[in-house]
Symmetry: C5
Subunit: 309 residues, 5 copies
Amino acid sequence: MATTDRVREILGWYGSDSPGTLTNLSRLLSAGTLGGTGRMVILPVDQGFEHGPGRSFAPNPPGYDPRYHFQLALEAGCSAYAAPLGFLEAGAREFAGQIPLILKVNNHDVLYEEKDPIQATTGSVKDALRLGCVAIGYTIYPGSAHRLDMYTKLRELAEEAKQAGLVVVVWSYPRGSGLSKEGETAIDVTAYAAHIAAQLGAHVIKVKLPSGHLEQAAARKVYEAQAVPVATPAERVRHVVQSAFDGRRIVIFSGGPTASDAQVFDEVRAIRDGGGFGSIIGRNSFQRKKPDALKFLGTIMGIYAGTQK
Amino acid sequence: MATTDRVREILGWYGSDSPGTLTNLSRLLSAGTLGGTGRMVILPVDQGFEHGPGRSFAPNPPGYDPRYHFQLALEAGCSAYAAPLGFLEAGAREFAGQIPLILKVNNHDVLYEEKDPIQATTGSVKDALRLGCVAIGYTIYPGSAHRLDMYTKLRELAEEAKQAGLVVVVWSYPRGSGLSKEGETAIDVTAYAAHIAAQLGAHVIKVKLPSGHLEQAAARKVYEAQAVPVATPAERVRHVVQSAFDGRRIVIFSGGPTASDAQVFDEVRAIRDGGGFGSIIGRNSFQRKKPDALKFLGTIMGIYAGTQK
Amino acid sequence: MATTDRVREILGWYGSDSPGTLTNLSRLLSAGTLGGTGRMVILPVDQGFEHGPGRSFAPNPPGYDPRYHFQLALEAGCSAYAAPLGFLEAGAREFAGQIPLILKVNNHDVLYEEKDPIQATTGSVKDALRLGCVAIGYTIYPGSAHRLDMYTKLRELAEEAKQAGLVVVVWSYPRGSGLSKEGETAIDVTAYAAHIAAQLGAHVIKVKLPSGHLEQAAARKVYEAQAVPVATPAERVRHVVQSAFDGRRIVIFSGGPTASDAQVFDEVRAIRDGGGFGSIIGRNSFQRKKPDALKFLGTIMGIYAGTQK
Amino acid sequence: MATTDRVREILGWYGSDSPGTLTNLSRLLSAGTLGGTGRMVILPVDQGFEHGPGRSFAPNPPGYDPRYHFQLALEAGCSAYAAPLGFLEAGAREFAGQIPLILKVNNHDVLYEEKDPIQATTGSVKDALRLGCVAIGYTIYPGSAHRLDMYTKLRELAEEAKQAGLVVVVWSYPRGSGLSKEGETAIDVTAYAAHIAAQLGAHVIKVKLPSGHLEQAAARKVYEAQAVPVATPAERVRHVVQSAFDGRRIVIFSGGPTASDAQVFDEVRAIRDGGGFGSIIGRNSFQRKKPDALKFLGTIMGIYAGTQK
Amino acid sequence: MATTDRVREILGWYGSDSPGTLTNLSRLLSAGTLGGTGRMVILPVDQGFEHGPGRSFAPNPPGYDPRYHFQLALEAGCSAYAAPLGFLEAGAREFAGQIPLILKVNNHDVLYEEKDPIQATTGSVKDALRLGCVAIGYTIYPGSAHRLDMYTKLRELAEEAKQAGLVVVVWSYPRGSGLSKEGETAIDVTAYAAHIAAQLGAHVIKVKLPSGHLEQAAARKVYEAQAVPVATPAERVRHVVQSAFDGRRIVIFSGGPTASDAQVFDEVRAIRDGGGFGSIIGRNSFQRKKPDALKFLGTIMGIYAGTQK
């Protein structure tokens, strides 16, 4: 597949990466329905680990089978499929070469709940290579007392991944005793979380769609003094993207708490209009019947592609 | 021994493993009375370490001798014998090649009791190789404050084991301050524990036979909304197996607190009927006289093989 | 560029360093407007990580773009540009060879605030080499309960950096529960912080311009008994420089809390008159429009060069 | 020296060890007065580290000199001499080849006293090799909150020692907040401690002569139900030896609190009659004048050899 | 320089060390005014790190310059100069080959004060080698809750140092919550601290001149029962030397709290008369004008050499 101008433009932002890493980043940007547009929709399925299998897959039992998600991502035209070690091991041979894979190399469960969370390291760069992945994925929790350990570990893995020509995708999820519940999705905190991920060397950054709340007093003062526009979802997306090296890093979004598909589509329009690079959509896609999921994901991709309003 | 269709089918689920690991998994599935059926009964003897030698072996003193258990497993037609380093070192030369061995590479004692347990690393992949084992065994405690460290360590050992062509067997035992006592064997927790082990790359997963209790509020809500069938032991086995990659990982069960052999046999029937892959039976076998143990294990294998009701 | 006598004199203080490290130190001392004078002005931009992107860049939005700071440092004639991994990765190819770079290899954010701070390791010596840097930068927090771990880690990185021919720049910032708020910039504490950095092997040491406060009772007693002159800013600068091996290590200063440019210029005069080696000026330069920043930095360099009063 | 049948029998229990390790074990079993009998008396001198030099050596000042203990062990016909790094370094050249040496590779002092003790690592396998030792010695504290870390470390060192052809001697001393004071020498706890050491791969296990106390409720229940004979010292020795792989591991004993030589000799008779493999006797030998010590040790060896009643 | 009989005698005590280490130990024993006598006076200058530069050098400001101390040690005829990394780096080229150097590889500051102190690792064996040192120096704090970690780390560094042919000098300073203030210099504790250092493999041990206080009840009982002579300073020195392998390890002393030079000289006479090997004298020498210091140190060396009373 020929690389589009837009993809080449994006690759141009990563001037310190090797041709190997750019090759894999190009694969990520060229796969699926949105391939070549500079937008992406990723299917992540780590909820079995994060929330438990019943809560994740009982609503649509074919999802218990790891192969289901490879197939769903493929049929839906997703840009990539992201999952923990076991789920990728269980389908990587069968689906080899059919869709870019992202190995989620750390995970957390909820059988014990901490005020200041951290994750277990559950995969390695070598695992990613033997499974044919284009990227590793890593979660950090800015706001947790353990965040610095996570940053340190991420950078070590990122250095190793870059040496192996892999892309680094960072889930930057503010959580922990440094933040109020509302602060976890505050616009200042989300922008900060995206910036930290970029500074740690992430190629692709995943954050939650932020609210208009301003969490930190020192930040609020500046946002108000400088009249930073964060009133609408699109403005907030724009600010987060700006905070990730002025738009020179790929930032994608997961939904906030949503009540209906219409609201999701509105959020996607806000991401698109604010200059976001796409969505990462898990539960909303694999927890419904496959035909519904395909239609749902098709609509989202249409919005990004401009073929849907 | 020729590999059966069923064994080849099972091996087919492990598409990311090397021929070396598949060879050892095939040995595990082809040994003993149930060899080739896709079912297995494993004899584990780590109770000396876990509970003390008196509590473990005084009821049947020949069990103090490490060779006794090799011999018992062999005569009973077990699929494998699992034990800590010392016990395997003490018989591996004498019984070399006679029965598949699993080196339990972490252990715990009860001379100090913690609210949030963890285990000591008591064996290595190199130990397993020099002792001629087909697999390493590792215990995790989902629910413990230290669980993430255990997941991280397991994955490291699993990566090394897979590189050496060994099979990875995970004892997934929910325990710790994240759970109520009843929650340790709750169906939602057991299914979750099996899923975590699978995501961490286990080939064979060992859990306790779950009760019908639902521990986590968020899980209960889904189980009730989706009417997940967990009323009978067989349904619960089926749900746990489903939670381990929709049946594409080998899940075996140890008994709950049992009062009589008849109850054990009923449990085995439930495991069989629910699609479980077998049993791991320690104290119930080595704490009775050998002839009784052989008869007892023979009955269990008969139930799995279909030669007993 | 020919090395000046002053630069050769300074290089002479580092008798245990390799020609490789001296070459990079010479580059640092020879670049920009002040090149060859033995003075330096460094542009550091880690505030995005340390305080958040909004607080850092909203006042002058072009600063969201990492390339802006390379360009600013270059146009202003700075001696070097210092930043975390991500910021350097985003411009190192475009600006390769145009200005000496310092990779800040540890960082801290304020999404969680600790009484006894420590930093995350966010870059490596290998990163510095692949990005073409002349130096690594590392922050220590004397006064924190975790300071000894930071000293230990710094020395490890410094040893590795020296073996690779890199310069080691240490940000020595007293903080933590061992000190009062006022004590963080006390003259005795600042001198102590500079000395510790020098003992740990730093080539260049960055401290805050100290106040006249004396924090530690045992120190105060000696300062008073020996009548150590610390009444004026210039005297305090002289004492700090003296405390860093009697002036045989490069010590540079960041401003204290300042109200106006005039005050900054006064501070710079004090640094110059006290024998300080220069300034490191972040927010005061990149948070204003570029023309203003160039003028502001030009004035500072003029004061050091003696072309301005 | 020709290996006796009994020594060959004992070597036969260690089927997983290399000829190198068996060679050193054979040296241990063949040295001194009891050489070839399968019994051993070891002189350990780590009390200087464990209790301080004054408490240890003031009663017999020649013991301050490290060479004294080599000489004492040699003249007394001991099977081996065990000591920390410094003490062995100070005599290993002078006494090279004259008596088997055991390097104690961890130690503890009493200048700080913890509820849950652990030890410092004070020697390495490489140290043992360069000093010509036949074995390393390692202490674990079952019952301490830190026991699992000690087990993990022991196994690592044991793996390395076995690769180097060394013997592993484990001092298994129940202590810590998991146990009552009386429980430290309880028969159930001592048997458990011996079993853990065996499971961790020890070749030789050293425990204290146990009392008849039963510490753990769950154990007491079984001991009483099974009528395990633990009424006399000899029965208790027999039970501990049984707990260490049914007598297929070498278990030696140190004395309990003793009031007279007669009592020590009674204890030795109990060890002999219960099937114990010997004694490890420190303070009782080096804290008396050498002629007395030689006579005292001679009597003990005579009891083991059967030349004394 | 020909090695004297006394030096050869001392080298003979270190039978497990390599010729490389003996060569460096010989250099230490052969340098300066006391060279060849078996006595030594070392100049240590780590007070800048330990107490701050003002407290250390303001009384004699030339001491801010690292070269001053090399020069002072050289002119005074000291046996060696000991300092942290930075101070040695700043003069090692200029003074190469002129005086034996000891790299102090751990350090502590007082900007945060702990009840149970530990030190930062601030230098490596490789550093010592590249700076031309004959030895590394390491501080342990017996009595601190962290002492075991320090012992473990010391032994690792000592093993590496010995492999590199370096001498190991241990500062054994009882401190921490295991001891009363008075106990830090108690005779039983000091003797214990010296013994621990020797057991950990130290070649040269540095302790404080002890008081007659007995800290530990169990020790006091033995000291009293055995009538260990510790009434005079010389007797206490003799007991400490005896506690370090009966005088077969080099033990040197730093002063207690002293009021006058006369008292220091009395202490030195006590060290001499008690069989101590010398002194390590920091503040008392570099905090006075150089001519005074030379005279002061000259008197001390004269006392050791017997040319002064």
